[in-house]
């Protein structure tokens, strides 16, 4: 029983880390970044390089954030900027970007699956159970990301400008907020967070050029269901991630893999605006 609760909590934490970058982009720009999975992969390879260079493991998320953030900002400048009026085309263009990133990574690192060692190995005794230490480590990591996020949005000028753009872009522009800059920074931060998520999940799985794709769909559905708010995102990660764990454990792992996508689609049918204002 305790094991399942831990599974649910850590799964929710992983999902939250993965989806938060997508959420900020969707919230500000009303655009779905289909290159999110590719940016995750970039982060995973950043972690791989960090471990090759024998840098301390704690450096991995920072390297990942820098690489992902720069790439994301470049993508915003070159591509996404031109598509704000065509949100469905933005999905396609970012999907194309994902293909390009995936192929470049393949050319650079090859197709084969590689592994990054976890910074924390073995199990920890937690409330009388032995549990993967690294998975437990992701719990505070998710909390830190959530807290930083909230602090950024509520405690800084950039956050204030961002919230203004989310609520009413035309008005924000009229008040002298440079919404172009807000979007550039937002896309950069969102992509950087995707890369951090990629670095964070690699020790649990393997690294290969297409590893981000399966995560993309789940994260995407969670963001849609959450309706663009951070607390609801945390909630949907718990509820849907929890159901995924339960279905995987008690029914079948394959159906478990479908839980988030199917339940999210049905939930959205019943409540199209998402669950931001429950």
């Amino acid at each position: 029983m305790m094991m399942i609760i831990l599974d649910i909590t850590t799964t929710a934490a992983i999902l939250f880390i993965v989806a938060s970058g997508l959420l900020i982009v969707f919230g500000v720009m009303k655009i779905v970044n289909f290159a999110h999975g590719a940016f995750m992969t970039v982060g995973a390879y950043a972690a791989l390089i960090t471990s090759y260079l024998a840098l301390p493991a704690i450096a991995a998320p920072f390297v990942a954030f820098a690489v992902g953030g720069l790439l994301g900002a470049a993508a915003e400048l070159l591509i996404v900027r031109r598509l704000y009026n065509r949100p469905l085309d933005a999905i396609l263009a970012t999907w194309g970007l994902g293909i390009v990133i995936g192929q470049v990574l393949t050319l650079m690192f090859g197709r084969e699956v590689q592994f990054v060692p976890a910074p924390v190995t073995g199990t920890l005794a937690f409330l009388g159970n032995d549990y993967s230490g690294y998975r437990l480590l992701l719990l505070p990591a998710a909390v830190v990301i959530g807290a930083l996020f909230t602090a950024l949005l509520t405690g800084t000028r950039l956050g204030l400008a961002t919230r203004a753009v989310i609520m009413n872009e035309t008005l924000a522009q009229g008040l002298g907020i440079d919404s172009t800059r807000v979007r550039l920074l937002t896309f950069g931060i969102g992509s950087g967070l995707a890369a951090v998520a990629g670095a964070a999940v690699t020790p649990l799985a393997s690294v290969d050029p297409n590893m981000g794709l399966p995560w993309l769909i789940g994260a995407f559905m969670l963001v849609m269901v959450s309706g663009g708010s951070l607390p609801t995102l945390a909630l949907s990660c718990f509820v849907l991630g929890g159901l995924q764990v339960l279905v995987s454990t008690f029914v079948s792992p394959i159906l478990g893999g479908l839980t988030i996508a199917v339940l999210a689609a049905v939930a959205l049918r019943l409540r199209p605006e998402g669950f931001a204002r429950v």
Binding site: V104, T106, L107, F220, M221, S252, A265, P272
Partner: protein, 605 residues
């Protein structure tokens, strides 16, 4: 104004009809010819690749119809393709090959695809669903299907798929011609259906779904039916693919294949049909040749080309060619020759109550926007709703036009309660709604906009585009007085603001409504246009016995044309009376005092 039974207006489009048919027909004929002689000239490797490519092009056509024409970006057509392939493989593996089995495969694949598509459609399309949500669901479909295929064990062959079954014993040449002619046939069918009167509805849906719903069209149903048809075609293509190739693999149903189809259509040119076919053929051929020699670079090139096309050339290859060829002249949308007046329906009880609102309330959480609003209006009345900004006028209009909007109370249109009906069902009760901002179908011609508006009453043909346009007298009067009659073949996007407003009014009147809701119809109009509009309105009310509810800010205009005025203030009805009563009332002066002073000041300066 025209009271004659038929006003014939000849238009230049008529003469070119035959020529246009020829222009459309010749490329298709050349295509058929090329497919018939192709196997004699091409080497075996290319023929093999092209056969597969033809089946892929067939699904790509369905993606183009759904995305390019109706505006539904789908990643899910691969799932229906995969369904077709797997039905064939499963039946032939388990029961062997034979004519009975082949028939079962054909019927089974189409039926299964139709059922799944209907389910997906129900999930994706409902009043108020968004394009993004529909795309999300289309993404989930292939993912779910592939997982089910993986978990199917020996039944579906799991990750390696099903191979080694006996299939149709046809020569490669026969397969080539079958698959090739299949693409041409489906393409031609799609072309005819899309150019027909009914096909215009798809572009109308893409341009402005809300306007469609308020023209009385059951938009979710149209979209679901279209998806079911496209799914059946995709399943047929998948069936052919697996029948020829001898394999059904999870990749055939995958989300990745679904996105590849979108890429093919985007590169070839969405909304062109030809572009979808060539996009599919070229990508399939090129990847067969290049993925061997340049495995990852090839996909890199495709990715870059895709980004480039989406960002810089959204019309794609064929779309850009078409735009260059036809972009200089304002596109005419084909052969409309005459306007006709529909026979007048009798007005039986010219003074009956048309709108009855009682105890209506609307609140968002604890914020109450409207409370206890009750009034009624008869036919032949022009009731103006006035009040300061935020009084709830537009909200009231919304609550009358959409059964889901109000939080309390009841609304009756022509004696029928609107319950929780969606907009298109309320239109059927006799309601027409004109939006605040001119809401027309930008990419359709003026005539087609009007034709879409008549589609509810006179179901359009699926095969032909008609040469005349029959409108009720009221709509025709608006077309005549506004000058729209001279511009019937022009795309609506080229009209001035005033003409767009007139067109939308004509579209609403084409519904032959008994009640018309007008939300600030004169905003942004010139003085002359406004006066003309007022004259048209009063005539509609007197002659056609319409009941008009008008939201207006301009009190002078309201005073000239209204038969009654209702003053809304902070979500309540503050006053309801004749023009004289309202204008004299102290309350109105008080509510409007700021506005009055402004106007005086404006007049004085």
């Amino acid at each position: 104004m025209s009271d004659s039974s038929a006003t014939a207006i000849s238009l230049p489009g008529a003469r070119s009809r035959v020529r246009q048919l020829g222009r459309l027909g010749i490329p298709w004929l050349l295509g058929v010819l090329a497919i018939l002689v192709g196997p004699w000239f091409l080497d075996a490797y290319i023929v093999n690749i092209l056969i597969r490519a033809f089946f892929v092009a067939t699904v790509a056509l369905t993606v183009d119809v759904l995305w390019g024409y109706s505006g539904y970006l789908t990643f899910g057509q691969s799932a229906f393709f995969g369904l077709g392939a797997y039905v064939l493989a499963i039946v032939f593996v388990r029961y062997g090959f034979g004519p009975g089995q082949a028939l079962a495969v054909l019927l089974g694949a189409m039926a299964l695809a139709a059922v799944v598509a209907a389910l997906v459609g129900w999930l994706s399309f409902y009043p108020g669903s968004t394009p993004l949500y529909a795309s999300v669901v289309s993404l989930v479909v292939p993912i779910v299907l592939v997982q089910l295929l993986y978990s199917g064990g020996a039944f579906t062959g799991s990750s390696s798929g099903l191979v080694g079954y006996e299939s149709f014993d046809l020569s490669v040449e026969a397969w080539f011609r079958l698959a090739g002619l299949g693409v041409v046939a489906i393409g031609l069918l799609a072309r005819i259906a899309i150019s027909s009167d009914a096909g215009r509805l798809l572009s109308a849906l893409r341009d402005n779904e809300m306007r469609c719903a308020y023209l009385g069209l059951d938009t979710p149903r149209i979209r679901i039916v279209l998806l079911v048809l496209c799914a059946m075609v995709a399943a047929l293509a998948g069936l052919g693919y697996a029948g020829f190739g001898g394999i059904a693999a999870p990749e055939n149903a995958s989300f990745t294949f679904g996105t590849q189809l979108v890429i093919m259509v985007a590169l070839g040119g969405r909304g062109t049909l030809v572009g979808a076919i060539f996009g599919a053929l070229i990508l399939e051929l090129a990847s067969a040749y290049l993925s061997g020699s340049l495995p990852f670079v090839w996909e890199l090139i495709v990715g870059l080309a895709f980004i480039l096309v989406i960002v810089a050339m959204p019309a794609g290859l064929f779309g850009s060619i078409r735009d260059m060829a036809g972009g200089l002249s304002r596109k005419t949308a084909g052969p409309i020759v005459s306007l006709q007046t529909l026979p007048l329906s009798d007005v039986q009880s010219p003074d009956e109550i048309a709108v009855e609102v009682s105890g209506l309330g609307k609140h968002f959480g604890s914020l109450s926007v409207l409370s206890d609003v009750s009034f009624s209006a008869r036919r032949g009345e022009l009731v103006s709703l006035v009040g300061p900004n935020g009084a709830g006028k537009t909200t009231l209009i919304r609550c009358i036009a959409d059964g889901h909007e109000r939080s309390a109370g009841s609304v009756k249109i022509m004696g029928h309660s609107i319950d929780r009906l969606p907009p298109h069902r309320i239109v059927a009760l006799g309601l027409g709604r004109k939006f605040q901002t001119a809401s027309v179908f930008e990419s359709l011609s003026v005539a087609d906009c009007l034709r879409v508006a008549s589609a509810r009453k006179h179901s359009p043909s699926f095969f032909t585009s008609s040469a005349s346009l029959a409108l009720p007298r009221a709509a025709l009067a608006v077309v005549d007085t506004s000058g729209l009659g001279d511009r019937l073949t022009e795309e609506a996007r080229y009209l001035s603001h005033g003409l767009k407003q007139a067109l939308e009014l004509a579209m609403v009147l084409a519904l032959e409504p008994k009640v018309v809701l007008l939300d600030e119809p004169t905003a942004g109009l010139t003085r002359v246009e406004r006066q003309r509009f007022g004259a048209v309105l009063t005539k509609l009310v007197e002659v056609e016995r319409l009941c008009v509810l008008l939201v207006e800010h301009d009190l002078d205009f309201v005073r000239e044309i209204s038969s009654r005025i209702i003053v809304l203030h902070q979500g309540h009805i503050a006053l309801d009376g004749t023009v004289a009563e309202i204008v004299e009332s102290a309350l109105v002066r008080e509510i409007y005092s700021g506005q009055h002073r402004d106007r005086r000041a404006g007049a004085a300066s």
